[in-house]
Amino acid sequence: VNWLVDPNAANSRAMQASFRRATIDTDLTSLWTHGSPDLTLVLSPAHLHSTHSIAALEHNSHVLCEKPMATTVADCDQMLAAARRMDRVLAVGMIRRYFPAFASLAHLVHSGELGKIQSFDYREGKQFDWDVTTPAAFQRRFHGGAGVLFDIGPHAIDLLGWLFGTSEVLFYADDALSGIESNVAMELQLDLSRGRVNLSWDSPLSNELRVFGSKAEAVLRLDCFDRLAVSTSSQFTERRTSVSFPADVERPCRVWISPTDYHQAMYCQLIQTVRAIRLHEAPAVDEELGRHCVSVMEKALSIARPLDTPWLSTTRQAAFRGLHWTSTH
């Protein structure tokens, strides 16, 4: 790691403890005057992903962009065009692709072990506890990019797309008034299945994906790396999963890792991006998959309606609907 760029130098200095040779800069544009890095990791806030990624691509750098790829499909298209024009790799960071339990569930679904997939139920939420140092993630932007939809949504949509194919949004509701949402309910139609997605920044949801097949039901714990349960009769059997990913840039690969924590999963994601650059393999999530994820969220916002809140009094329900952002836009 040669460069760490952040408008707040203190953030870069904290990271410099791990990357002692790295130079710190507070301005991205000055980075390019020193040459082009082979690979740029874009970890900035979501609404800046496209600007920063396009700048890197146009300076001949490959890019691994954190999820979501951008906040609009139009921005994704500009990123795609830049990657193709410059013939650079544009990969999207979806860390959960490297969780063994998630990969095992994909295998279960695709191998037909669960039978014909009938439906799914995805619920992820808890009180937000990420110790953020600025309120940037909570400010409303016209084109989205903040809120629980753009925070947890990409994980859900990418996983469901991985399991069941491309998604179409049938229904989307949230609880934002003039701010950004902290609760979301969605229904998705996918190639293989149809089901619901609930996301929350304030309520303790089950943090599970349940997949209902004609032969069996599978339960994936979204906070667990290596456990998956399958029920073929009335009893669930928990399986410890192990799925190995390349951990070097050799062909054939000699070192493999079955990640057991975030650091290992992140390492595998980085290695796969480098393999995409050097060995022309596909990254786990390429620019097309990244774009699809953003298109689902964009469609969701275009059909948004107020969340159903029958627990509020009738008067407050009416006030909520009247103040909901879809009523005031």
């Binding site: 009938q118 439906s119 139920d121 619920r123 009180q127 937000f128 990420w130 110790d131 953020v132 600025t134 309120p135 909570f138 400010q139 409303r140 903040a146 049938l170 229904f171 609880d175 934002a176 008034l177 003039s178 701010g179 950004i180 949402e181 902290s182 309910a185 229904e187 139609q189 149809r194 089901g195 619901r196 609930n198 920044w201 304030d202 309520s203 303790p204 949801l205 089950s206 349940r210 209902f212 339960v219 714990r221 906070d223 456990r227 349960a229 029920s231 009335s234 669930f236 928990e238 159903d308 029958p310 627990w311 509020l312 009094s313 008067t315 407050r316 006030a319 909520f320 103040l323 952002w325």
Partner: protein, 379 residues
């Protein structure tokens, strides 16, 4: 709007359960200016949906200097903070001092019915001084804070109203979710056949009580118990949830009330409640790596329940000391003083509260009936 109404309200501890619910109710009712004061940016997550309807400020509730700019100009300050026992006392003092220096007219301080423990006597009134020694550090801190405020009542240049709610239950209540999860996992239990008093207040009734304090023209100094109108036993509370949560009340394990049944979890609880351990826990809880926290939690929680509704009841449930004591409450605290003084009657009945709670639990996916949706999984 009544001319006496104090309509610029600052809520300290607005990122918590009661705080965010209060903000929501005030915004939807729409006739007051709302300032939310939180300890850290992460608490914006619960409040950001209100956008420009709420002003959010970050301040340290234990530091009056930090609080003054956040509450300057407010007519009412509501203290909904929680935290370590020492922090509860420090924030009570700092918020009071900040209110005095910022010329705030009224301070509404949320204490807790837990200061009276098991309410072993029927003669406890709103003005009975609570004991300041309790096995639970939280209860001790709340009682000490009450004593500190009582010494300033009447002499301070601001009005002080202290409310004592019992268990705040209902929509978004962590306590309710905890009970419901235990009922679903069939690890819940009843002490003494559930005859103890469920000393609760439905969240909307608490919010209405707070609002009544804001709207009252004057003379609000004092200590007031607030609760639901109906006396409800623990058995009745569980029974009201039984149909939607698919459990048989009579199959719940019974725990004797005469002697606390120690277990691994109870021992951990006990160690955590020791003042030194409690203080260390609150000091370092944010620096414990999430993976270690999660590993410890899952070790204590036991095997994961993959069924949405567990099939069999725990033969020997893990009994925690707090729940055991709460289920041993003998008397409902009187609320006539509050009702008389503020001409208040709780707007939500117990049955209505249960119905609203079940609709929210259904949204969370915790009931037998899931809300209607296309492609809904079979339950």
């Amino acid at each position: 709007l009544d001319e006496h109404t104090l309509n610029d309200i600052a809520i300290i501890g607005a990122g918590g359960y009661v705080g965010s619910s209060l903000v929501e109710s005030l915004v939807l009712d729409g006739d007051v200016s709302v300032r939310a004061v939180v300890r850290a940016y992460r608490h914006f997550a619960r409040l950001c949906r209100f956008g420009s309807a709420v002003t959010i400020a970050v301040a340290d509730a234990e530091d009056s200097v930090s609080l003054i700019p956040a509450i300057q100009g407010a007519s009412v300050v509501i203290n909904l903070t929680t935290g370590s026992p020492r922090g509860i006392i420090r924030s009570t003092q700092a918020i009071f001092e900040a209110c005095v220096r910022a010329n705030v007219r009224r301070l509404i301080h949320l204490s807790s019915a837990v200061v009276y423990g098991e309410v072993s006597s029927a003669t406890v009134t709103d003005d009975t001084p609570p004991p300041t020694k309790h096995w639970m550090p939280y209860a001790t801190a709340k009682a000490v804070s009450e004593v500190w405020l009582r010494e300033r009542l009447g002499a301070a240049p601001l009005e002080i109203t202290v409310l004592r709610p019992g268990i705040v239950w209902g929509v978004r209540s962590p306590h309710t979710v905890d009970i419901v999860k235990r009922l679903l996992n069939k690890t819940a239990f009843l002490v003494d056949r559930g005859q103890g008093i469920f000393n609760g207040i439905y969240i909307d009734n608490l919010l209405a009580s707070i609002r009544a304090c804001c709207d009252h023209p004057s003379g609000v100094d004092g200590f007031f118990n607030v609760a639901d109108a109906e006396p409800v036993s623990w058995r009745e509370f569980f029974a009201a949830l039984a149909i939607d949560l698919d459990f048989e009340l009579d199959s719940l394990p019974r725990v004797p009330g005469d002697r606390f049944p120690w277990s691994k979890n109870a021992a951990v609880d006990y160690v955590q409640s020791l003042p030194v351990a409690n203080s260390l826990y609150h000091r370092f809880k944010h620096s414990i790596p999430p993976s270690l926290k999660s590993a410890l939690r899952s070790q204590l929680a036991g095997p994961y329940e993959y069924h949405r509704f567990a099939r069999s009841y725990a033969k020997k449930p893990q009994v925690d000391r707090e729940t055991w004591h709460l289920q041993k409450v003998r008397h409902k605290l009187p609320t006539t003083k509050f009702a008389r003084h503020f001409r208040f009657s709780a707007p939500v009945s117990f049955r209505e509260g249960i119905s609203k709670t079940v609709s929210w639990l259904s949204f969370l996916g915790l009931t037998k009936r899931l809300p209607h949706c296309v492609g809904q999984p079979q339950t």
